[in-house]
């Protein structure tokens, strides 16, 4: 029965992807991409990958739609390449490339072990160690969190640095084209009485939910990445309703930029602290008297660092994009 549901969802995914290719209106593409995100999250849930599904729920279906839309408002809504004869629009080339790559990938799957096969490398390499020993070595219910934050602490550190770099990249690229003169923003939605009141009720709940996800990553799906996004989305909602000027009063841009760096610093410091105590970088066993306690503390602070950086970078990106968009959108 379950595989029947899998097939339905997968075929809807393919249909959506085909629709995305066909549609020329970039706004419709964004909407379909949002649906694609929703579908993949459902599929991840069915495949029992609930941490991935959680991330997809927060990032793929929610925030990325918003960010793509703000980008669209800077670039325009329709694909122009096809109409312009002078452009380098060569669909045949891209199509050939994609077809060849796809064919190679399908050919490659011939050598892959069957899904869920017991002798597949993924079941015999490091995973048994994670699954069997996580309970005694780290002692938290969610193995995904222990893999992410402890066994693979290096990788996650890299990811946080990537996110931090992305934030800096956006600032460097867009800030340079925007003058720092204050922009008068019409908070057009503020007089929208229903939206105003309902959002006022929701914002504190979104914030506390974000923090709940942050601190319960060890017990269920969630953790710093998802929590950061959820927490930041409350600020997005606030900025969209009450205007950027008001939002900037609530969160000082300089603080947010400092916090983005602080998150990475916190993560790194945990690693360095382990070194000072005589262990390897990010070896949490050296953080406390006994190993399990050290692991708990290490994971808690590392996840906090991730959450702070992700939330700050998201806020930086959204605010910078919106400032830019506002100046462009200002009637001449």
């Amino acid at each position: 029965m379950e595989s029947f549901i899998h097939i339905i969802i997968l075929s809807m995914l393919v249909t959506t992807a085909a629709a995305i290719v066909r549609v020329k209106d970039l706004f419709a593409v964004t909407m379909l991409a949002g649906i694609y995100g929703l579908l993949s999250a459902s599929f991840f849930v069915l495949m029992d990958a609930h941490d991935v599904a959680f991330t997809e729920a927060a990032v793929g279906a929610g925030i990325s739609t918003l960010l793509i839309l703000t980008t669209l408002s800077m670039t325009g809504r329709f694909e122009k390449a096809a109409e312009n004869p002078k452009s380098n629009y060569k669909p045949a080339l891209a199509l050939t490339l994609v077809t060849v790559t796809g064919a190679l990938l399908i050919y490659g799957t011939q050598d892959m072990p069957a899904f869920g096969a017991a002798d597949a490398p993924v079941q015999t390499h490091v995973v048994p160690r994670y699954l069997n020993d996580s309970a005694t070595e780290i002692d938290i219910p969610n193995v995904v969190a222990s893999v992410l934050a402890s066994y693979r602490g290096y990788d996650t550190f890299g990811e946080v640095v990537v996110i931090f770099t992305a934030g800096i990249g956006v600032l460097a690229l867009i800030m340079s084209t925007v003058s720092t003169a204050p922009v008068a923003l019409r908070a057009s939605m503020e007089e929208h009485v229903i939206l105003r009141i309902v959002s006022k009720m929701l914002i504190p709940l979104i914030l506390i939910f974000g923090l709940y996800v942050q601190f319960h990553g060890e017990y269920g799906p969630g953790g710093g990445f998802q929590a950061g996004v959820i927490f930041a989305s409350a600020f997005f909602l606030y900025a969209m309703l009450f205007g950027l000027t008001a939002a900037r009063k609530v969160v000082n841009s300089n603080w947010v930029q400092a916090l983005a760096a602080l998150g990475v610093l916190l993560y790194g410091s945990v690693g360095v602290l382990a070194m000072i105590n005589g262990g390897n970088f990010l070896d949490y066993n050296f953080l406390a008297q006994d190993d399990v306690h050290g692991q708990h503390m290490g994971i808690l602070f590392v996840e906090l660092g991730v959450g702070i950086t992700v939330a700050s970078v998201m806020i930086i990106i959204f605010f910078t994009f919106s400032t830019h968009q506002q100046r462009d959108g200002e009637p001449d």
Partner: protein
């Protein structure tokens, strides 16, 4: 759990599922954006409510029950608000609703049974 709650839960789930499908069929069949919106709100309100209450009746722990209640409250708070914002935006951007003349009716579906029963 008693048999009564189990049966009640099943009934709610099936009825909710039927309402879901109805809402989407309306979303396809109705002639313009504003009428489609009414079809969508069928699924947003009663169908969601029925399915979530149906699940609540089978909740294994009080935490699951509590979370389902919170989800229901969120949906009931946000879906009419989002719907209203959408309708307002559509109307203000100049999208004209399809309206019949005096006393007339819109014959929206000239081909009987198209997409219907």
């Amino acid at each position: 759990m008693s048999m009564v709650t189990t049966y009640l839960s099943w009934a709610l789930l099936v009825l909710g599922g039927f309402l879901c499908v109805s809402g989407s069929v309306g979303l396809l069949r109705f002639p313009d954006f504003f009428t489609r919106m009414h079809a969508a709100s069928v699924t947003d309100t009663l169908a969601t409510g029925m399915i979530l209450v149906g699940l609540m009746l089978q909740a294994p722990t009080w935490i699951v029950f509590g979370k389902l209640v919170m989800i229901l409250v969120f949906v009931l708070l946000t879906s009419p608000t989002a719907g209203h914002a959408l309708a307002k935006a559509a109307l203000h951007s100049g999208l004209k609703p399809l309206l019949p003349g005096k006393g007339g009716k819109i014959d929206a579906d000239p081909r009987p049974s198209a997409g219907g029963v």
